[in-house]
Every structure is written in C-alpha cells, then in structure tokens.
C-alpha cells in the first residue's frame, strides 16, 4: 500500500480546521482471491482489489463520515472537511453529544502470522487442493453435484486519529468448504454449511481441514438422507454439533450483546436486543455451564486482530460468566454510556463504511466430556449437524433453526438418520437448558464469513468458539 500516513494526516488536519473535536482516518486495501470447483472442473479464480479512505469525525457533538476511492492528500483533506459538514447537519437531531470512553493513543503494528502466503502460492497448488478436497464426493453413487470453494483475503490498513493513534495492520484470512447434493433438496456440507471453515492464517489454515477424511462421508450421508424419515417432533434433548453451536452463539449471544444494537441503533434494520443494560450483572443468560468470552486475540479465529477500527488494543473480556451476563461487545461511545471501557469490537467493512460493533471471536468455553461420552449420557434425543436455516426475532429472543441431518439418540447410542431436523425456542430458555459442552478436543473457533449488519449493509467476518453441546428438553420440529 503506497504512501506513508500523509493522506490520513491531511484528512485529520482538515477536519480539525473545520471544527472537528475528534477525527480518525483509515486507509484500507482489501485483496481477495476465490476459487470454486463444480464436479471436477475448477473455474477461473475471481480476484478483487479495493482501496480507499474513510474519514470519521465528531463535530457539533455528532458523527460525520466521508469516504472515497480517490486517495490523495487533496482528496483526503476534502473528505475531512466534508465529514465535518455532514456531522454538523445531523447535529440538529442529537439528544446528547457523542462522548468517547478513554483509550490509549497507540503507535503499533500487527500482522496475522502466516506460514504459507496464499496470494504468492502458485495456481496449480490451489487448484489441485480444491479438486482433491471435492473429488471423493463424486465417487459416491447417487451424488448429483459436488462443489467446493477456496477463499483468501488480505486486508492492509492504517488508522490515524486526532488523539495520536497510528496503527498499521495486515490481516490474512483463509477459508474452504465442500458440499455434496442429491437432486435439489438434499445437501451435506463440510466442515460447515456456510461456505466452509474460515480463520486467520495462510494456506496452512485450509490445508489443516480434514477434507480427505470427510468428503466421502458427507456424500454418503447426502445419499442416505434421501431415504431417511422426517425428524420426529416434540420436546426432547438436543445435541448440536460444533458449527451449529457456533451459529446459535452468533445469533443469540453475539448479536444480542452488541451494545450499539442494545441502545437501539439497529432498530430500523438489524433489530434490537432483549439484553438491555438494566440486566447487566443480573441476567441468568444461561446455565452455570455457560461461560462466554469475547476474544479477538485467540489464535486462528476469523475475528482475530491486533486493534479494532477505533484503535483499541484487542483483549479477552468475559461476556457471560457462570451463566450471568457481565459485559457487552462495545465501542468507545457505547462503553462510555455504561461506565466501562471499549471491548475493542468496532470494525468497518473496508474503507467506505463507518465502524460498527461487530461480533469478535465470541467463544463458549469448552467443558469436560467427549462427544461419545455426551451421547452415551443421553437417553433419548436428536444430534443435529449442518445448519440450513436460521431465523431469530428482532429482539434476539425467539429463534428457529434448521439443519441438514439429524441422528436419533436412543439409550445413549446414535441411531437412525433423520432428515430436515430443526429446533425452536427462545434464547434464555435454550441457553439455560445447556447442561454440557464437549471438551477441548472438539473445540474450534468456527468462522462466519458473511455476517450482515448496518445501513448501508456491511459484511463482517466473525468467529465463534464452540464444541458440541447438549440442551435439555428443546422443542424439536
């Protein structure tokens, strides 16, 4: 990325001259490369390059933001001035001036540890890897389509603030996944149903995914599902596979604890939250088994970074301790309103968007049992894998989830396969019914590469640390 802070400095100076009481500028370059395979044919890779500058200010007690793909000292200065004009226009509807919780103005750098740079790797290696991951699915009779994808992203960014922060980061993310289908209605995927598993790291991250040990298995399951009976309905015990626990965390904990959402800033689009601040320190969110942290420092997580987009150093923070709500995902502005410091959760989708509070790596702490032990300890229930459908109400309470495959549990043993399994309930009921989480051997930070929030729509990449977990007496079907 060309230049060395001059453009950001020009933006900050112009904003200050125009009357900003705070300003920050981010120059961001995002490079992506995506490969896909259908059958045995690997399509041409798609590559993108996205570069620009965004300037955020406080003026007249209100926020303003201006951004452009043109990155020169002149355009940056114009953006700084324009952001102040925008902020002042909005100040006519402001119930209180924006105040920021204190944060150290850091001069710092951070880079994702990368062993094999995916962007420098030759095309043949990537193509052969993807073919090798997906091809075994085609050897299974009855499979009508076998697909796979491979994605890499490198984000190089600089942040400068009027408080003196100067932070440079390079974040590298990789991901891969496969799916087998039988006709139009039945699909099985691996490692997750949401485009695969994603994390920070280089090509070594995707090479560590056990496609060889699972491609044939999921293809066979896809075929078997075509003949499987429908999932039974009624109240029963539920064991969710790790990626499905991850999705449950994402929808019912991660989003629910975004403090901007709690304060209503997404009321018109992404919704609000039942977990209002009067419940902080009191709400029994889950059973005592449920301990959840925000940890953007966790190695390999998709939301692992050094500093958020307000320049706050990433750190691990308890969100739910022994089942009790103890903190939120927060920004400097929202943390100030509850008398805390930011949990370093502010992130923007590239240069052209304002930072919002986004799910970091929101991790459910592992427990003691193995998955086999957990199943053996369950008299009757359903084990579900592969999310297909998810929907939760606008306060993050009532939810309904669907999965690719279920297995009956009878007398502590996995039994018959069932199709179209799903469950529903409400956030507090489900988390308070959680009585066991599997151990570290089963625990991963599952990456979600397509989390949407905000207007204009912003995509964020989040992580949820999870292992298979059991929930008692859940409504199935």
């Amino acid at each position: 990325m060309a230049g060395d802070w001059e453009n950001e400095a020009a933006a900050i100076e112009a904003a200050k001259r125009a009357g900003a009481t705070y300003a920050d500028a981010r120059v961001v370059l995002t490079e992506t490369e995506s490969w896909s395979v259908s059958g045995r044919e690997v399509s041409s890779p798609s590559r993108s390059y996205d570069f620009g500058i965004g300037v955020r200010v406080i003026a007249g007690g209100a926020w303003g933001f201006a951004a452009s793909w043109e990155v020169t000292e002149e355009s940056a200065a114009a953006l700084g001035k324009r952001a102040v004009e925008i902020a002042r226009a909005g100040a006519i509807l402001r119930s209180r001036p924006v105040e920021l919780a204190p944060a150290e103005a850091l001069t710092a750098t951070y880079s994702t540890p990368v062993e094999i740079d995916p962007f420098a790797l030759d095309a043949d290696t990537k193509r052969e890897f993807l073919l090798g991951a997906a091809a075994p699915m085609l050897d299974v009779d009855g499979v009508t389509s076998a697909n796979g994808s491979l994605d890499f992203r490198r984000q190089t960014q600089r942040l400068v603030s009027s408080e003196g922060a100067m932070i440079r980061q390079v974040i590298v993310q990789s991901g891969a996944g496969i799916a087998a289908a039988v006709g139009g209605a039945v699909t099985r995927s691996y490692p997750t149903s949401q485009g695969g598993q994603f994390g920070t790291g280089g090509f070594e991250f995707v090479r560590a995914i056990d496609f060889a040990g699972n491609a044939r298995r999921i293809a066979e399951e896809a075929v078997a599902l075509g003949k499987a009976p429908e999932c039974p309905t009624g109240e029963m015990d539920l064991i969710l596979d790790g990626p499905e626990v991850s999705l449950l965390i994402h929808e019912s904990v991660g989003h629910a604890l975004e403090l901007d959402r709690v304060f209503g800033s997404e009321a018109n689009f992404s919704g609000t939250s039942f977990a209002t601040t009067d419940k902080l320190g009191k709400l029994q969110y889950g059973s005592k088994t449920v301990n959840i942290v925000s940890d953007p420092t966790a190695p390999g997580g998709l939301a692992t970074y050094g500093y958020d987009d307000e320049g706050v150093r990433a750190y691990r923070a308890d969100l739910i301790r022994d089942g009790v709500l103890v903190n939120y995902l927060s920004s400097r502005e929202t943390a100030q309103r509850i008398g805390k410091t930011s949990t370093a959760a502010m992130r923007a989708d590239g240069w052209g968007n304002v930072p919002l509070i986004r799910i970091t790596n929101v991790n459910l702490s592992p427990g003691e049992p193995t998955l086999d032990e957990l199943i053996a300890d369950t008299k009757q229930g359903i084990f579900m894998s592969g999310s297909t459908s998810w929907s939760i109400d606008d306060r993050r309470e009532g939810l309904r989830m669907g999965c690719e495959v279920g297995r009956r549990i009878e007398g502590g043993k996995l039994g018959e396969m069932v199709k179209s399994p799903g469950y529903s309930g409400n956030t507090l009921g489900i988390w308070n019914s959680c009585d066991a989480v599997c151990n570290k051997e089963h625990w991963r930070i599952w990456g979600t590469a397509n989390c949407g929030k905000g207007q204009p729509g912003q995509n964020a990449r989040t992580g949820q640390g999870a292992a298979p977990a059991r929930f008692r007496r859940v409504r199935i079907g």
């Binding site: 993108s48 004009e85 006519i92 309930g425």
Partner: protein
Amino acid sequence: MDKEKANEILDKALTLSGADQTEVVAEEEALALTRLAENTIHQNMARTDLQLIVRAVKGGRAGVASRNQAADDAIRQTLAAAMQAAEQDRGEGEFPGLPANQPIVADARPAPAISSPADRAAAFKRLVDAGAAKGIKLAGEYRTALTSTALANSVATRQYAQETYAVLSVTAATDKGGSAYAHAAARYAKDIDAAAMAERVVDRALATEDPIDLPPGEYTVVLEPPAVGQLLLFLGFMGFGARTFARSFMTGKIGERITSEKITIIDDARDPGMVGLPFDYEGVPRQRVPLIEEGIAKGIVCDTGWGKRLGRQSTGHALPATNGFGPYPKSMVMSGGESTLEEMIASSERGLLISHFWYINYANPMRTQITGTTYEGTMLIEGGKRTKGISSMRILQSILDAFSNVEMISKERQLYHQFNSFMLVPALKVSKFTFVPGS
C-alpha cells in the same frame, strides 16, 4: 462520472487489452445516507466508489478481475489479472462469447444530484417532531444514491446510463409496546413524502400499544406492500433466475398454474414506476420478462452464459461478472387489482394486518417455504376493523401457497427496495397464512 470520462476509461481498457474478447464495466456510485435511532441521528455519511470490472476471453475461456481504481496503471493491472484468470480457468465448457452489437439504450430521464445531509436531517426532524410529544421513538434510514454505469466490449456493444434513487424507512416504538414501520422508495428524493409518513407511523404506533399475544394457527392476513415485496424477493431468489431455475419450484412448471390467476409478476425495468438500469452488466437491453402471468409460470431471466447452458437467449439480466449469483430479476412488478387496503380490512371478519416481516430465511426452498416473524406495527383485524396491536409471531409459509390463496389485491402499488432490488408491489389479502409456535 460523466459519459466522456466513462468513455475515456472504457476506450483505454479496450485499447490495452490483448484478449480475444474484452468487456469493461466502469461504475461510480455516490451514496449519501443518514441513520436515526431513538430520535437521534447517529450515523451520517457520504461515499464515492468506483468499480472497474474486466472480463477477458482468451482461447474460449473467460476470466474476471475487478479494481476500484481507473488510472492507467490500474487498468493495466486489472486487464492482466483478468487475462491470468482466463488462462487459469478449467470450468464448465467454453465461454459463449460476449454479446455483440447490442442496441444502445437511451435513457432520457434526468439524474439529479443526491440529497444534502441537511435535507435528510430535515426529513427526519419532521418525523421526530410529529412523534416526540406523544412519546414515540423513531429509528430510520434515509439514503440517496447516484450511479453512473458505463459498459463497452470489443464486439461493438457500448452503453451508458445514470440512475438515482432515494429510500426512507422508519420504525417507531412507544414505551407501551406500540410500534410501526413505513417505507418509501422513489427515483427522486423530492418524491419522498416524509410528512405523510410521519402521520402514518404516529397513528400506527399509538394504535398498537399494549399488544396482545395470539395463538399460532392459520389466519387471514392483509399484507401491506413492504411485506409483499419481501415475499417476492425470496421467490425471486428461489427460482426466477437461470442459475436457480434448474433446481427450483419453477422446474418443469413452465406453462402450468402455480398461483391464483390473480397473480401476475413481470420483471420490467422500463415500467414508469420502476427504478433500474435499462441494460444489464453485459450491455444487453433489459427485456420485459413475464415470470408468472395470471397464475401461470411463464419464464425466467437469463444472461449470456446461462442462456447458452439452458438453450435460451439472454433477457438482459446479467449481474456484474464478479457476482456468482447468476442472473436475477431486479425490477419485479406485480400487477395491481381493484381493491383498496381499507376494503381488504373491512372485508375481513378476523385477521392480521402485517406491514413487514423480520429475518425471513428459507425453510424449504423447493416448496418456497420460508420462516420469519411479524414485525413492527402488526394489528389484529376484528369485524372489519383494526382493533389491537399484536406481539411478534413466527410464520412458516409457502410463498406459492400464499399467492394461491390471494383473495384481494390493491390497485395502489408501492415501490419497495431491499438487497439492491426494487419491487413495485400492491397490498394483498391472503387466507390460510400459517403461524407456528415460538416468536
């Protein structure tokens, strides 16, 4: 980006390309957006972005690359990346070739400048002032955009157009659980009537206070245009595009009845009430495509690549080549009926009035079954009158079943915007709409 500047970029790229065939898209968007929450403007922004998308064809293979820069070196780098991608392609079959000699689509409609932050703040202030004294808290979004899109390929196709749109949406909440939702979209910001919207959301928020719970089951519903637009959007995702067609509710159904004969859905970017580019991202003029006509499945939308696979012609519905979604109908128009919203309510002995749905997701795409919840402003209809607010309820509903159970359609239609698509939709009265346990 005016036409002259756009042509400069396109000509430079076509001149520098060493591909057998080359397609260049240059698109600049100026977006301005203000967000409101709890009667406070909490986000206020303007952004200008430019996308240069090159598709290079070499030896029957196509490759795509994009870059949001358009200086000479950026053009060279994007061309090189697209050529490299073409050389690395091992995908299905030969690329069919770029569409040649497409007629130029003139669009004489003026594209005025986007709104100022002061204009947007004033609109929100009008809304807030209408509700604040009555204890109503508002949240909303007001966005305007001006997009300049230019396309040229090496086989004599060249297009240029400017498009503008404005969207204002608002949710209202009271301390007693009252709520409301309103949405307005138009080509020009001057056609957005914030004052009229203020009156509607205030009345609705107050009328829905102290909402009651209803048991799950089948209800007659009156769906306001935004709710209809959401159903249409998901129907489009599930089967109106060529990529999803082969494994969808439309498979094998062309020519058969799939909804009530009252339902006609046509993708038509040229409808006077619609917003949208007059050509697609391959430079093909967008055709008027009947999707469902008087209840009969009629057709799907196509681009060049999917047209070749399916033995069809492009209908001018290609999305940008960087997009993996395939062709999509971004300008669906549902025919209006003869009723008014008030007549639908008056004719309902017991039912629900629904403004909008929340968090719709697929439940069973082959059956067009979706799930989601009712959203702000839902009301109970009793004896032909709106009586009470209703707490959130979860739906589990086949869209085609809902369109088969349509009893009345409003004459008046509203433009609805979501996920970069516009839909011109009426209100519908639908019987046997399914609600399931859990919110």
